[in-house]
Subunit: 328 residues, 2 copies
C-alpha cells in the first residue's frame, strides 16, 4: 500500500491543469503529494511522488504525461541511430528537485522513504513505442533486429538509472524500488538475454549502499527465478501468482512484495477482506513479506477501502517497523 | 498459424469502409476471407473468419468493431439488472450466416476447418467494460460485488456459446477453439470460482461431437492446470511460458498449441527462425503439439515471414495431416 497519493481527492485538485512532470519538478509539490496518504492512514513507509519518465525527460526525450493515457513520447526512438539523442544523466545537475524532495521528506517523515526508478526495459518501451503499448512490439522488433544497438540503449539507461538511484539514496532514500512494469511481456529467454544483465548491474551497483532493493513487475510469473538472479532483496509479485507459488520460484531467502489484485479494491469490503486474508495466509510462516497491491491503486478505488485494508493488515501481521507503535 | 486473413492486403481492401461484423454477416465474405491465407501458404487447417462478438451482437448487445480499438459496446452492462437485456441465442435463427459460411467452406477446403467462439469471461469483459481494457476492473468488480448475478451472466453466455459451437460442428466445423483471450488477468482462485465451471460445461457439452476442442488464452501461465481441468483436448499457451514448462502444468496427456511471440515476426527472418526452432525443440518428443503464434498475427507482419515460417515448420516436423502431401 506504499503508493504516493494519486488516488486521493487532494491530488486531483493539485493536478488540475498541471502536467505530472511539472509537479514532479517542484520539490515542494512532490513532497506534499508523497505525504498525502498519511492524512488518511498509518502507512509503514512512504514512496516518493514522481514519475518513471522524469530522468529520461532530462536526458533529452520529449515526454509528456497525458491524463488517462500515460507517458507519451513525441519523437520516439524508431531507428537505432535515434538512441544518440539521449544524453547521460547527471542526477545532481539534471534532477536536483527529486533529491531536494527526498531531503524535505526525510525531515517530515517518521517512517522510511522509498525512492524509485523505472527499469531500463520499461523506459525503453515508452521511448520506442511512443507511449503505453499492449504488445511492446516495436521494442521487441528493435531488440531482435539490432541486438548491439539494443545493448547500447540498455547500457545508457541502466547507467542513468543506477546513478539516479544512488543519488536518491545519498539524498536520504531508505529503500529503492525498480519498476519494470511491462517486462512481463517478454519470454524468459529474451528476458535473460536482453534485460537481465542491465538489471543485475543496477542491483549490484546499489549493493554497497546497504538499502533494501525492491524489484517490481507485472505478469512476471515465469520470470521470477530470473528476477531473483538479478539480485534484488525483495521481489514484487502480481496477483496472478499465489504467494506460496511465487516463493517457490524466487527462493525462500528472498522477501516478496504483493499481491492483492487492485481491482478487488473496487468491490465491497467483505470481498476485499476475504482476499487480503488469503494473501496473508499464503505468506504465513515466511519472513519478509511486504503486503501490497499487485499493481497501482486504480482510479475510483474508495479511500475507505484502503483505510480498512491498512487496518486489517496491521491487525493481522506482526508489526516490524521499530519506529511505529505496537498494534492493538 | 491457423488464423484468418486479417493481416493480408486483400483483407484490408475488402474491409475498406465496412464493419467487421457486417463482413461476418455475409457468409460469402466470411468464406472468402477464411480462404485468403491459402493463396499465400499451405496451412494445415483453416480458421473461420468471424468475430467473437458476433453471437452477443445477435443476443441484443450494441456492439461495433472500431478499427484500431476492437469491440466497443455502446451500452455496457453496468448494473447487474442490465444482464436482462441479453436474449438467449438460437444459432439457426440468429447466426445463420456463420453456419452458411461453414457449409460453403467445407465445399472448398481440403484441410480441416476450425470453428470458434469467444469464451464467456472474455465476452463478459467487453460487455461490462464497454471495450478493450487493460485491467478488466469493472468486470472483476461485478463478479466480486454480485457473484449470483455474475453466475447468471456466465450461465447465459455459456449456454449461448455451447449452442453456437454445437451448431458450428453440425454445420461442418471439424474442430472448435474457445478464445478466452483476457482470462489471464484473473488470479487462479477467481478463475476457479467465477470462470471454470462455465468453461467446463461448454467443453463437456462439446464432448459428444468428438471434434478436437482447443482452449486459448493469453498470460495464463498460472491458470494452465485449471484450464486442463476445464476439459479441452488442446490447451493454448502464449510465449511467456516455455512449452516444456507448460506441459508440466497441463499434463503430458493433453496437446499444446503455441507459442511463438507474434512480435518476433516483426524482426528479420534469422531471429524468427531461431525462436521458431526453439519452440519446436521444446516440443520435441511429445505428441500433440500444434505450432502457432502465442496470440494473433500483429499488423505490419511481413507476409513473407509467415510464408517462411510455415515452410520451416513443415520442413522440421512430422506431417500429420493425412490429406496433405509428404514434406521434402
Amino acid at each position: 500500500m506504499r503508493q504516493a497519493g494519486r488516488y486521493l481527492p487532494e491530488y486531483r485538485t493539485l493536478r488540475q491543469g498541471r502536467d505530472v512532470l511539472e509537479m514532479a519538478r517542484s520539490a515542494e509539490t512532490a513532497a506534499e503529494v508523497t505525504l498525502l496518504p498519511f492524512r488518511y492512514m498509518p502507512l509503514d513507509a512512504a514512496i516518493l511522488f514522481s514519475d518513471i519518465m522524469v530522468p529520461v525527460a532530462e536526458m533529452g526525450a520529449t515526454v509528456r504525461i497525458e491524463p488517462g493515457v500515460g507517458p507519451v513520447v513525441d519523437e520516439p526512438i524508431r531507428r537505432p541511430s535515434d538512441v544518440r539523442r539521449l544524453r547521460a544523466l547527471d542526477p545532481e545537475a539534471d534532477v536536483p528537485y527529486v533529491l531536494e524532495a527526498i531531503r524535505l521528506l526525510r525531515k517530515e517523515l517518521e517512517v522510511p522513504l522509498i525512492g524509485f526508478a523505472g527499469a531500463p526495459f520499461t523506459l525503453a518501451s515508452y521511448l520506442v513505442e511512443g507511449g503505453p503499448s499492449r504488445n511492446q512490439e516495436m521494442t521487441k522488433a528493435f531488440m531482435h533486429s539490432d541486438p548491439r544497438r539494443w545493448d547500447l540503449l540498455m547500457e545508457l539507461l541502466g547507467t542513468a538509472v543506477l546513478a539516479y538511484l544512488l543519488a536518491q539514496v545519498a539524498a536520504g532514500a531508505q529503500a529503492v524500488q525498480l519498476f519494470d512494469s511491462w517486462v512481463g511481456t517478454l519470454d524468459p529467454s529474451d528476458y535473460a538475454t536482453f534485460v537481465l544483465p542491465t538489471t543485475r548491474m543496477i542491483f549490484e551497483g546499489l549493493a554497497e549502499t546497504g538499502v533494501p532493493r525492491i524489484h517490481f513487475g507485472v505478469g512476471t510469473g515465469e520470470l521470477l527465478p530470473l528476477m531473483r538472479d538479478a539480485g534484488a532483496d525483495v521481489v514484487g509479485v502480481d496477483w496472478r501468482v499465489p504467494l506460496n507459488v511465487a516463493w517457490e520460484r524466487v527462493g525462500f531467502d528472498a522477501a516478496i512484495q504483493g499481491n492483492l489484485d487492485p481491482a478487488v479494491c473496487l468491490a465491497p469490503w467483505e470481498a476485499v477482506e476475504q482476499r487480503a486474508l488469503g494473501v496473508l495466509r499464503r505468506a504465513a510462516g515466511r519472513p519478509g513479506h511486504v503486503f501490497n497491491l499487485g499493481h497501482g491503486v486504480l482510479p475510483g478505488t474508495p479511500v475507505a477501502t484502503l483505510q480498512q485494508l491498512v487496518h486489517l493488515v496491521h491487525e493481522r501481521t506482526e508489526w516490524v517497523n521499530d519506529s511505529a507503535e505496537e498494534p492493538q
